[in-house]
Every structure is written in C-alpha cells, then in structure tokens.
Symmetry: C2
Subunit: 630 residues, 2 copies
C-alpha cells in the first residue's frame, strides 16, 4: 500500500517547484464538479506525493507553524496553509498531503509570486495516515466553522487572511470570519439513555433541553465514532498538540482544543470559554519517593484553574450549549443550581463571562459568606433560602419546571463531556503514553465516569492502546460505592453520609452510581476509602513535600497510600492522582489541622509556628535547635 510517487525538486538561487503527481487540480475554488472529480480519483490520489521547495525561511515556518504564511489560494488542499487554519494547518498538510494536487510550474510560479518565497517540503502518503478510506460512497463532507480540522483538507477557505487580525477584529470575530462559507460538519453527537447493557433507539438532539430519558435513566452524550475514525490517531494527536499554548479561539482552551470530541456541532461563536484546562500535570517527586518509593507519581492539578476547581471543565460545555440554545431563540432565562461549593462558583463565572443570568439557591444560615463569595462576586442571583440544602434542591427543581431556567445539576451529561478532556489531556501530557493508574475522588460519581470516557475514546480512536486502571477514592464517611464494591456489586444501598472534610464528596446517594460502576468494571477498577484521619494526614504529608492539597485530593492520596502498602500499586507503576480543587479553597481545615484544633484527630504532621521573643539570641537559639532537627 506504500504508493510512492516521484519527487524532483530543484533550484539554486531562485525558487520554483516541480512535483509530479497523478492529477492536476486547478487553482480555482472548488465547486461541485471538482469535488466529484476528486471523489473519482480518491484512491489513485492517495498515492500521490506533493513537494514544494525553495531556499527560504518559509520552508521551516511552514513546517513548524503556518501562521506566518501569507494567504495562498492555490487549491482546495493548500488553502489550509493560510493563516486561517493557524496551528493545526501544518498537521493537516502532512496528513492530507496526498489530497494536495500536483502543481504545474506555472501554478507554482504564481504561488511564488504571491508569497515571494516558498519552501522545501516533501511528504508522502500511506493509507493509514490519512483518511484515504474515505470513499466516494462515504465522503467526509466536513467543515463549517465547527469543524475546521477536516474542512481544511477538503475545502478551500472562502477567503484567506493575513496573520495579524485587523485592529477592529477580536479572536471571536476572526474565528467567525474563518468559518464563513465552510461546508457542513460530519462529526456529530447526540443524547442517548445511559444503558450500556441494553439497546435503545431513544435519542435526542443536544439542542433539546432534557436531563433524563423516558424511563428516568441518565443520559449520555454519544459521539459518531465512525466519523471520527476516518481520521487516524496521528491526526488527532497532532491536532490536539498543535492547539496547546496559544490564544486561538476557542482552541486555546484545553477543553475546546478537543472540540471535535466534545461538542462537534457547536459553532465556535457560541462557545463560552475562559481558556480552561491545560492544567499542570505535577510530578510529585518527593511525595512519591519518600512516602511510597515511587518514581512516577503525578498529580493532575485540575484545581489550579480559573474558579479553583475542576468544575470549570464541565461548565464551559454546559454554558456554551445554553448560550447556543439562547441564540437559537429557545426561551432560556438563565441557568440555575443548588450548590454550596464549586459548582455554583463555576456556573457563576461562566454565566458572567457570557452575560447569562446565573441563579444559585443556598440555605440561609448554614453556609459562610466565604462559600458564597464566588457566585456573589460573579454577579449570580444568589437566593439565600430559609431552609436546608435538600429544601433548596426541591425548590430549584420546582422553579425550573415552572420557569425556563436550565438546571445545571450534577446528573448533567454535557458537563461530563468537558470533564473527560482531563483524561485526554493526561495522555497528551505524557506524550500519549498511558499511566497504569488514575485515582479519582468520588462523591456523586460523575467524574470517574468522565475520566473513563476520555480514556475509552482515546483507545477507541487509537491514540492509546489500553485504558489505565481506575481507582475511585471515597471518604469513609460517605462511602456507598465502596460498600457496593466490597459486596461484589450486589445490592447497592444509598447511605446517609456523615460529615467529612472532603465536603464536596459528602454524598450518600450518588446520582451517577451506574456510570461509575460501568467505568470501574471496564477498567479493571478498584474502590478505596479513607478515614478523616487518613485523608487529613495524607493532605498534610503531601503539603510537606510542596503541594497544597484540598481534602478531596487527600482522599485520593490516602487511597493511593493504602494501595501501595498492600502491593496493589507497585513501586514502578505510573500513577496519576486527580486533584479536584485548589487548596486555597480549603484553608480553614488546614488551619485547624496545624493548630491541632480538630476533635479526635491527633494531627500528627502539624507544623505550628514557633513563638519567639524579639531578641537576636533567642532567635538564634531557636534556629540552631530547629534546623538541626530538619
């Protein structure tokens, strides 16, 4: 299948290109007739080689980033070398190179004339590398502003633009302009009931406002994997990699850099993003070595984020879809939730960014204003209700049944689409090597399923060759999944959760129980638990090696310690602990711990300050004594 054409590139002091291929494509923008021709010769085309050559800086630029290339309108396949496609254009070029028609010298010179200099590059084609399996019967008719990645390979952009945006254009305008005239996207996703063990024909458009199936089951966002599979693993890896670290709308986001896998059909213009994701994958060197004799322990710092928790990842997807629905003139007044913590903070921030009203219901006199400060600062309509948390939940359900307010509840399947990108990002940061273990704190249990879904999608699409073993870590005070697991997945019982420092996972009746069981059963997964002492000690020990962990991360770390001790996780394994919030959101529990002010907890790693008189000698005495101990 290695069909290798011949390339002959020559030149000495001026630039020109001669490349021989099997077909010519003219410079004019492709119409239906041309598309037809292309389909006809698809397989022959796939053996073609394109080469360009010259003696200039453009060569290198072209291969590293195409953003510096001036506009080129030569063929449908070269169009993606314009600045329009920016980051990933280069990859598109590589992977869709066979789709590039050959250039006649005349055409080349025209090209050269318009670009001044053009450069050396030869690439070849292999069936596996590009979507040559796309046949005339099943053409990829992708594009639209929604799916720039593949549109680049198939369709000339309507217009090319210079690199620098006009002064009166912002990055959103730029994305919009680039989307104009692009063809329809072939990637798609829809709601289906979450029913892994039975077939169902029930399905809904993502543009419907629906939270559960007819039978009350959870929903799942199902992607058209066959469409995605038309592009091979290398294509996706390179596409995702190419979007990291820049400010292109919306791909500067770690969630939307995987847009085709998240909400393929949303218009870039409808997206509400704070450039979330791309969080640090932190190498826990000292904690791993000294506590666990592990060389390869990592903490995915999802909490080092805009609102300080991993909830940003899901909320950008939910609020973007709501924004789309509002622009489609669906009557949505705003988005509501009942939450004391991270969810209301993330919801409020994204709604504020979009100018969409956020409505937050909270029990009066039961939470501190510190817990309220994020939704209040972000302009949410915060209702302080004279009831408890369950009362707030009941009221918001009643209200959203009456008023057109979208409910941002914890069973929402859109949010999981964003959260799953953290799993993809972990693979990406490891250069697509799979860790052996991923440990996720579990309360309502949506996140463990989201991680599974991310890894599973990577495996299905060939980016990784296996799924890491997942560990769901629960607080012993709120451990219904752990009990279920220990009982051999028999007779699930909701429990009444007791107080835990890991307050965000203090849940006795998790809404995503079925999703979690599915994820664990399909990843050779494990459930572990941690007592209050274990989780707070794990936090303190991690902090002493340079982290600043939230109590939920402490639960995951305590689970890891247990699994290392009993040999399930080996010293040489690569493990990733998912940190769900920034420690700055949980300073009070740290203060209490280091003040030894927690009842029934020895706080054995407390590090209280040392009181010293304002006296040089006294200070020196303390320093000599304490430093000799360290």
């Amino acid at each position: 299948m290695l069909g290798l054409g011949a390339i002959r590139v020559s030149g000495s002091c001026s630039s020109h290109i001669i490349a021989r291929g099997e077909r010519d494509v003219c410079c004019e923008k492709g119409g239906e007739r041309e598309r037809e021709r292309e389909r006809e010769s698809e397989s022959a085309f796939s053996r073609m080689i394109c080469a360009m050559s010259s003696g200039s800086a453009l060569a290198t630029r072209l291969m590293t980033t195409t953003t510096e290339l001036p506009a080129m309108h030569i063929s449908r396949s070269v169009s993606f070398l314009t600045s329009q496609q920016q980051q990933y254009s280069y990859y598109s070029f590589l992977h869709t190179c066979p789709r590039i028609a050959t250039f006649t010298p005349t055409k080349q010179l025209k090209l050269l004339a318009s670009t001044e200099r053009i450069s050396a590059m030869a690439s070849s084609h292999v069936e596996k590398l590009s979507p040559s399996s796309v046949s005339a019967e099943n053409p990829v008719e992708c594009g639209s502003s929604v799916h720039d990645a593949s549109s680049s390979s198939l369709e000339t952009q309507a217009s090319a633009s210079p690199k620098k945006r006009p002064a009166d254009e912002n990055i959103r305008d730029e994305a919009r302009r680039q989307g104009l005239g692009a063809p329809r996207c072939t990637f798609s996703a829809k709601y289906v009931p979450f029913s892994p063990f039975e077939d169902t024909e029930e399905e809904y458009s993502l543009d419907e406002i629906i939270y559960r199936s007819k039978t009350g089951a959870l929903l799942d966002v199902q992607h058209d994997l066959e469409a995605l599979k038309k592009y091979d693993a290398t294509y996706w890896k390179n596409l995702f990699d190419s979007r990291v670290g820049k400010t292109s709308w919306p791909y500067g986001s770690g969630v939307w850099s995987k847009k085709e896998w998240v909400l393929p059909q949303i218009d870039n213009d409808d997206i509400v993003s704070l450039f979330e994701g791309n969080s640090n994958l932190f190498w826990a060197e000292r904690f791993g070595k000294e506590m666990l004799q592990m060389n390869d322990l990592w903490v995915k710092q999802c909490g080092i984020s805009h609102t300080g928790s991993f909830k940003d990842l899901g909320m950008t997807v939910l609020v973007s879809q709501v924004n789309r629905l509002r622009r489609m003139k669906k009557p949505l007044l705003g988005v509501g939730c009942a939450s004391t913590g991270d969810t209301s903070a993330a919801l409020s921030a994204y709604c504020a960014a979009a100018g969409i009203p956020a409505i937050v219901f909270l029990p009066a006199n039961r939470i501190s204003i510190a817990q309220l400060v994020q939704p209040i600062a972000n302009g949410a309509l915060v209702l302080s209700l004279d009831t408890d948390f369950d009362g707030c939940m009941r009221l918001i359900r009643e209200v959203t049944a009456e008023l057109p307010i979208y409910l941002a509840n914890s069973l929402n399947s859109l949010r999981l689409e964003g959260q799953k990108t953290a799993a993809i990002e972990i693979c990406q940061q490891f250069d697509w090597e799979v860790p052996d273990w991923v440990i996720v704190p579990g309360g309502n249990l949506g996140n463990i399923y989201a991680f599974f879904k991310g890894f599973h999608m990577c495996k299905e699409l060939g980016l990784i060759d296996r799924i890491p073993r997942l560990v769901c870590a629960q607080a012993a005070n709120a451990n219904p999944l752990y009990l279920y697991y220990k009982a051999g997945w028999k007779n699930f019982k909701a429990i009444k959760a007791s107080n835990t420092f890991a307050s965000a996972i203090q849940i006795g009746d998790p809404v995503s129980i079925d999703r979690a069981v599915f994820a664990l059963q399909n990843s050779d997964g494990i459930v572990e638990e941690a007592t209050e002492e274990e989780l707070m000690d794990a936090c303190a020990q991690a902090d002493l090696t340079g982290m600043f962990t939230c109590p939920h991360t402490g639960v995951a770390l305590a689970a890891l310690i247990k699994l290392r001790k009993n040999g399930v996780i080996r010293a040489t394994d690569r493990a990733v602990v998912v940190s769900t919030a920034h420690g700055l959101k949980f300073t009070q529990s740290k203060i209490d711990y280091h003040s030894k002010a927690i009842a029934d907890l020895p706080c054995k790693f407390a590090n209280p300050p040392v009181q010293v008189a304002n006296d040089f000698g006294a200070v020196m005495d303390v320093l000599r004594r304490e430093l000799s101990l360290r």
Copy 2:
C-alpha cells in the same frame, strides 16, 4: 545567499533516499578529528540540503514529534532525532538541517533497516535560518545536560534510548542520563551591578552568594547575548513552542522551557520545579467590550498557579540555584525570608519540594493564621516574633549575616530571571505578536523590570520587533513611583505608604526603583495610580464579567480604565493586564465589598444575596422581579 542544493528523492514501493550534498559524514560517533573537519567546511556545509524520503508513517512523526522515533546512531546530526532530545529535536532538525551530512544509499538502507520505515522530508537551508555564522574561530561547543538544545546539533548523544523510560527511571533520571557525555555549554550568565548608565568591570559568578554590588547597588543577571544570538529567532521560537504542554524534565515548566535564557549553566538535575508558568492568557471579552470598547484586552493570569501568585516564577529559579549551591557543598542551611504573603508561600512550597529548610519570620499578633497557612502547611520553620514587620526584617538580616542561610529578599536578581519568562510567554501565546500595552501592578517594582527584561531579550534576539509600552500601576496609597514620574523623574522621595487593599504593593520605599525607572524610560512607559475605591470597583466590575481578581489586579485594571478614558490607550490597542495573584487569596476584601462593609467606600457594584422564605411563591416572585432586571 540562498544556496540551494538539489534534491532528488525517488522510490516506489520500498524506501530509499538519495540526497546530494557537499560532504559525507560517517556514522561513527564524532571525535575531535571529525569536529575539526566540520569546522573547516562550515560555510560550505551551510548551503547543503538534506532530504529523506519514503512512504511511511515515520515521516509525519518525524516532522511532528521525534519522540516516537527509534534510536538512530547515524551521524552527529541525526542523533538528535532520537528520543533523547524529544520535543525540540524536530526543530533542531529543521534548523540544523544543513549540518546533517548527506547519506549514501547504503547508510540510508541501514537506517531503514533499523527503523523499518523512514519517511519523506525535504528541507533547505538559508543562512539566516541556522547558526551558520558560527565560524571555525567561534564554534558553538555547546551541550552538557544544561544545554540540550544546541548540543543536539553538534554532538552525537552518548546513547540513544527507546521512547518509554525504564520503569525504575523517573523524568529527572532520564534528563540526567541524557546529559551524560554531552559537551560543555557555551551559554552563560553572571551577576553584574545594575548600572545601565556606567560601565563596570565588576562581575560575579552566579555560584557566589551575593545580593548587592561593592557599592551597594542592585545586581543584574547578565546573559551572554552573543552566544544566544548564534541561534536565530525562529530557532528559539520553535524551541520554546516545542516544550509547551508536556512533562519532560524540566521543560514542562514555563520558566525552564526558556532555560537557556534563565539559568543556562544550571544542571537540569539541580532544578527545583513544580512545572510553574504556562499560565492562562485570558481574553477579557466582556470587560473589554462593555467597559472599554476594547476588542483585544487580555489578562495574564500569573496567579492561577501552584501557590496562587506569580512569585512561583521567580522562586523556582532562586531555590534551584540554592539547591545547586548546596550540592556544590556550599554551607547553606536553608533559605529565609520575612514576608506575610505570597513570597513566604512560594518560598515554602519550593523548599518543601526540594527538601531544603525554609525559614519564615513573621510578626506575632499582627497577621492572621490564614496568612500563615501556606508556609505552615509546606513545612517551613515559621518564627512568630514579638515585634513588627520591620523588626522581622532587621532580625532576618542579622541572622543571615550570622548563619549560612540564603536570604530570599525582594532585591534578589535571580527571581527576576524567572519572572521575566511571563513576558516571553505572553509573546509566545500571541504567536510572537507584540501587544501594544502591558500593565503591571507595582510595589517593590522588581516585576515591572522583569517584564521589561523579558520583552527586551525577545527583541534583542529577534523574536519580536518592538517592546510593548509598559504601564506601572500603583495604589494611590502607596505611590512613590507615580509621584516621581509626575515630577519628571526628579527628586525621588520614599513615602510612608498608607493601608491599601492591595497589600502586597503597600510599599513606600521600593527597593527596585532604579530598575523600574530604567524599564519605563526604555519602553515609552507610563505610571498610573488608583484609589481604594477605584481599585475595588475595578475588581468588582471585572468579577461581574467572569474574572475573580485580586486587589493588585484591580489596581492595574483601574489604571487601564483611566488610560482608556483619557485616550492614551485606544480602543483598537491590544493590552495585557498582569494579574499577580488568585482572587481566592483575597476573599475577605470581596466579602467586605459585597457586604458593603467597607468604611468610606460606596461599594456601588456590590451584589449581596437575596433573603427569601422557604416558599415556592415567594421564590418565584423574587426570580421574576430580579431576572427582569438583568
């Protein structure tokens, strides 16, 4: 100067390469004799073209990432295609392509035999693109584990490794192994007195423990720019870009991804990094549009970081250098500082990660334990002294004069080397386009100079063509620089700073005053000030559009608002506001603002919660009323 060789690549179903160049280099590892030969023909070599071709996946991989390439020992110049050099190898290849000798078909086939498939790639050489200015008289003898970037182009790696690390090897071990046998680095930096207006021969090694010059002047870390200039702008851009988003030690860090420009001579193994930097460059869409009619307003979120402030950027450099000194057996017991805020937090975290004692002096009864929680949690020796802040400063100076404790004070010039990478990162995130304005909050004034230094270095090395205009924003309650600026830089007077919510910049006698003036004078800079009301209102308004700003960011935003209003900053300008800390570190002031609990402040953008009875009808009434207002 466009010396273009000829390439002829052919093949049909098996792979082979024929490339004609001006010289052969044998496969053996390069010795002195070979290096000599290379020097002789350097300039001829610079016109050579290398090409490889075939029909396989490797081509693409080769061009996108070399990490998937199996070991290849072919020549000194192909060695960088091994996994050893990972990320940047590809770029090295492109930019040093001329340095690659030609391959005989035999050699090629050997290569092909070892890799199974090899792929198509043709590149050309232009003088400007690679360091062909390197002459026999001035060879780049780079390398060592310290400087992998250029070593790759000149020296065969001692051994090649498969992509996957052995299970018992961590990323630090891997970096160490890869550094073995590499030649000495030619990049260097040293301390010189900060004296932009007079020549001095005074200089110190970075391995000396010194804080000020003989005359008491500040120090500056001066880089050997001539050595750096041997590599052109494209080389550096691609090198930096290639390191983003991965977990290679230490380049996963946004600071150490610019290692050659920061501390070129430090061994990777001595570096203490939490993979800091790579912070979000946030597009302030709504705030820009609605408040300022700006399309292109950005906030560099340096506070969305490990310890919640930009101090991480500098502290990784300081603690790394201390770690190096300790490994060199210099008698350093630990690192000390007197700080109530971000500095002690960052110092403690980095020392904890390295296992180096951190010593923090704090005034007893003057700060809350919340301000202490980070150093305490990170295991610092916190001395609570029965004195005020000035007393703490005096004591720590006395103590560090007596005991071998490194002083992490605010005049430390190592820290500025880390902080300057935020400026480089801004350019990088904008694809090396320069913003028109960068607005930095100023207290002790080191940061404004650090930003200047970063931009200046980018300009000197050709990565950008101009330096953005810098704005230093001060709280009106602590505005000595503003007064100095308004007086036409005449008769600087230290002042007694009054209380400000922007507590980290509440400084009346800034230590880096000379540095700041130099930065502003050389960037057509401006100083602006903000009252307490202005800064708190700016915070609140920014938060209402989705941010969660600290008061210092509020100072910068308030300065921006003024400069927009008076027309200095235009609607079409691209401006970047530097956010120095996460709002989560400053929740109390937000709580006070939204509770309208601040004396003499109208708090006109406060958004207090609405109290409602536990009653569906009452809730509906509130919602109908409030939502109609929004």
